[in-house]
Symmetry: D2
Amino acid sequence: MIVILKPHPDREQLDNLIGWLREKGIQVHHSLGESHMILGLVGDTSRLDIDLVAALDIVEDVKRVQEPYKNANRKFHPEDTVVPVGSTSVGGGTLTIMAGPCSVESEEQIITVAKAVKAAGATMLRGGAFKPRSSPYSFQGLGAAGIEFLIQAKRETGLPIVTELMDASQLDYFDEVDLIQVGARNMQNFNLLKELGAQKKPILIKRGMSSTYEELLMSAEYIMSQGNEKVILCERGIRTFETYTRNTLDLAAIPVLRRLTHLPIIIDPSHAAGRAFLIPPLATAAVAGGADGLLIEVHNAPEQALCDGPQSLRPEAFAALARKLAGLHEFMNGGAARS
Amino acid sequence: MIVILKPHPDREQLDNLIGWLREKGIQVHHSLGESHMILGLVGDTSRLDIDLVAALDIVEDVKRVQEPYKNANRKFHPEDTVVPVGSTSVGGGTLTIMAGPCSVESEEQIITVAKAVKAAGATMLRGGAFKPRSSPYSFQGLGAAGIEFLIQAKRETGLPIVTELMDASQLDYFDEVDLIQVGARNMQNFNLLKELGAQKKPILIKRGMSSTYEELLMSAEYIMSQGNEKVILCERGIRTFETYTRNTLDLAAIPVLRRLTHLPIIIDPSHAAGRAFLIPPLATAAVAGGADGLLIEVHNAPEQALCDGPQSLRPEAFAALARKLAGLHEFMNGGAARS
Amino acid sequence: MIVILKPHPDREQLDNLIGWLREKGIQVHHSLGESHMILGLVGDTSRLDIDLVAALDIVEDVKRVQEPYKNANRKFHPEDTVVPVGSTSVGGGTLTIMAGPCSVESEEQIITVAKAVKAAGATMLRGGAFKPRSSPYSFQGLGAAGIEFLIQAKRETGLPIVTELMDASQLDYFDEVDLIQVGARNMQNFNLLKELGAQKKPILIKRGMSSTYEELLMSAEYIMSQGNEKVILCERGIRTFETYTRNTLDLAAIPVLRRLTHLPIIIDPSHAAGRAFLIPPLATAAVAGGADGLLIEVHNAPEQALCDGPQSLRPEAFAALARKLAGLHEFMNGGAARS
Amino acid sequence: MIVILKPHPDREQLDNLIGWLREKGIQVHHSLGESHMILGLVGDTSRLDIDLVAALDIVEDVKRVQEPYKNANRKFHPEDTVVPVGSTSVGGGTLTIMAGPCSVESEEQIITVAKAVKAAGATMLRGGAFKPRSSPYSFQGLGAAGIEFLIQAKRETGLPIVTELMDASQLDYFDEVDLIQVGARNMQNFNLLKELGAQKKPILIKRGMSSTYEELLMSAEYIMSQGNEKVILCERGIRTFETYTRNTLDLAAIPVLRRLTHLPIIIDPSHAAGRAFLIPPLATAAVAGGADGLLIEVHNAPEQALCDGPQSLRPEAFAALARKLAGLHEFMNGGAARS
């Protein structure tokens, strides 16, 4: 960490600062420029509160040189992490396709969709049981019953299941869930993150709508710092001024996170786009950009048209997309070039 | 709600839609323009999922005419709500000043600050005990002990206290807390909102960093729909591209929310600005813009310089500001003109 | 256009509005809902000022049903437009690769880079001569001399050239330029757009950093409405709260613009990312997402290290990327599957 | 400027960098931390291209210590600048009220409004003659004739006039204009800024919709670096995700710019809000926040209702607001306290 002092700092305040830093086990190197004195701090600065130091009267600015996360940091863990999820695993060069409806509506519905997406090539089943809805008057999901139906669909198809948990009190229902999803609105629900870090199941954590890459990694760090290293990151669009799409999918998240962390990176084009016709191009773009997998909404049978979500693909469209994605993933990894 | 159909809608799909709407108790009025048919929906459309309807193949667009919130809506509750908080109350033409340190650090610290802010004119004491921190390695607050210290400060000064609750499991510690704060990161923690709606204490809910006015009102609605009408709204800055300030304080929130809702509106300039020199001008701007009150960070004694937050005022600066604010509030409400 | 009136509108004001609309040749259809009267406007509403109508006391809201652009609108021009540019053309299923340095620095430099990018597969040469720089103290480009050097490079390699024009007064120098670039900061320089619409050369117009898709299309419409239909759109990243990347590349622009307009769509990953390691994954993502082409910065010889831009690829890296992109484009269009 | 090197930098590249810096007259101080070497650059670094240095392989990060602007910088010009504008002046403790219609529509209209706003206390007349409109089909303003009408209104009332110039080619018409406005969309039209810097009239420059404070100051610097020091800054709202207001008025701009620069700061609440009922609270907030003045839209006579802008006040509402603002300005500056 580098501390840039204001010109002519008060000597006593400077001594106080240096003393306080040394008490915390930090070595301090001085450098006297013409106009600004600079302190180079060496040691474990991840526990220093950068805002506290920046607030001092004598300090012009503070600059971190090291990232504030450790367990999630590729510098300390150069190999890609592969997260085992039920009978499959995420990361490490494979392409994960998590597919299924926005909400679990009935046992029949989720089993039908599960069979369809499995046949089309999905490697995991998604479906919402506990639904975060911005209105208290909207359907809040089937809850525990929805998870039961997902488990039935898993038994019928063998697909591992991923579903969202909204509160630690729901953990009891998640015994047979393979991957626990933390939604974008809960990305900085730190109590929840700690509780998920204290249990064993892998976690898929979605980037908040206005969260930076670093904040997403710090939220992963919350989970990992409690002992659970099985974390998968998910980009699902950020909030911008553009209103045609619900959110702006930020595909630069893939190479940036790839460089900063060893954790797998999943892209959710459905929530970002909010319109079904955008899913195939965004999904192919994500795979060509290096994503470890996708989270795609696939809706129910076409005759129940009123339950189609605006952001869901029909099963046939999903099957065509899944074929394209498999070929594209092979091409990007050199398979097609070799043939 | 108005549904604009695409040109030449499929007859069967249109009949399905109209039938489905009527089943839900909605009356449907047709209007045939030259290029677009329009459906006017009359009845309780607050429970209709606008996204579902917008997703239909035959639908071009859907437009709400009524707001999706009721309890929080000024149309159904024209009088300003005054929320009683301990020995004081918020809203209704008074100016509430909540002041205190970012974090409770010790009993002595919080009592000292409480006495100082009371002497300066504050009407409520704030202080963080459970602290949401983006890093698991940062100080997480004193927790239950911090709340004990706040209660001591309340006993010594008589000031009602406001402090943040991060998880419903902490409710046991909040018996003597007068006003429960929901932080920006928990604004859409819907399970928490429901639990807070099911108890009796008043709630101060902060706008999320990328939340719209409507989303803030829907979060208030979550609380109110469970029976707790004592909700106070707080604007604390939104996330934009500007990096000089931590967040961009959106003072238009005051007149906009004033028009949309009857709930009191508090402004927090400290978190938005992130720098102490910005607090006085933003605080005076907020009062001149019609805010019902302010939430202001005031730090400890100057000799503990290292604990000063970059966004905190020293007690003397706060006292000068509080005097200015009181005069300004009187001026804005015609007092000065009368004198 | 649909006008939603407030409940119980003043009769005289309503008659005034309807009379004014009819004077403008608009037919007005009434529809009386229970709580809101709705007016459906039929006719050429593209010349109606939506803000004016929305401002009336009796109006609750106004909603456009038709897009405000015509020449750029796919509804009135269903076929993809192919824009001829010198000896090549953009759009229509081909993949355009515009490559070259950020700035033209010397005749030798630009010719060296031009030969390198041509050998690697580029179809057009880019290079800045008039440079928009946020500081008046930064290098402002070689100006007219830079364009001379570009023309020399075109003569040596046969590559058509694209370079930015900042002001209509520079048009004299652009006689031998094949494609005129309008930068993001000039996207709404309406006088410039009109002047470019009144001449014959094709225009590459970049989306402004905080411009919506519709605003980009309206800027294209400015050019087209003056008679120049040869417009190419370019997405180069928008401004968000994320600071790791310079801008957030919005690849949903490809399928959205594809649906709304018939004009070709180019992606510039270099400016959006601001870091060279992000260019290859963003470029492949763009091609897999359906872009008609890319605008990529390639820097000078490695020995002149101080002139490398942080967002430029070295020639060898560009050559490898160009090969990948060609194969990917073939794969996406079914070529690889056939082989 | 501080350059933080990556661990174990290549010796030859480091020597090249240091040599290049010394050639430019920069002194280089080394500081060797445990993990990172730091270079402190001393001298005139405002001409160094920070991006170039940051792009080097051996560089981890670069941090400016000094602002990149000089003429606009308060550090080099501690006194507030007062800009003379016709018979009045802006800055220096007075409150400037620029008021008038969005567009000049006729001689009669502008003279009527001019008289009304003068009677109400306005100190300057505004009105658009050259109008930047996002659609080529919208009314583009009366142009040169509109400026003639403004000049007539000035002759009748004595109010100095401010109006927007969109292109340097229009300068001929501005001989009798007192203050030239540069619109938000032209804030980074650098050629225009240079031309305005080369003439003598004062300039009101609006912050771009997605421009930072520093970018606004750099645009002011463009004008000032050409010799014209008479620059007034204007905040008019930035683009965010909130759609209820047209833009988000950023009142922190007042104290931030006050600290960074000596130039006067004007607030335009009309364009930011987009709705008339928001103007009075935002205007009072701006004055209480320390603005040097306001730019307020006041519309024509009420009988011409269709020309009212949604963001314009009626003359009587403006008169009441102007009285309030005058009293508030006096209160904020101690006047009321003295009485």
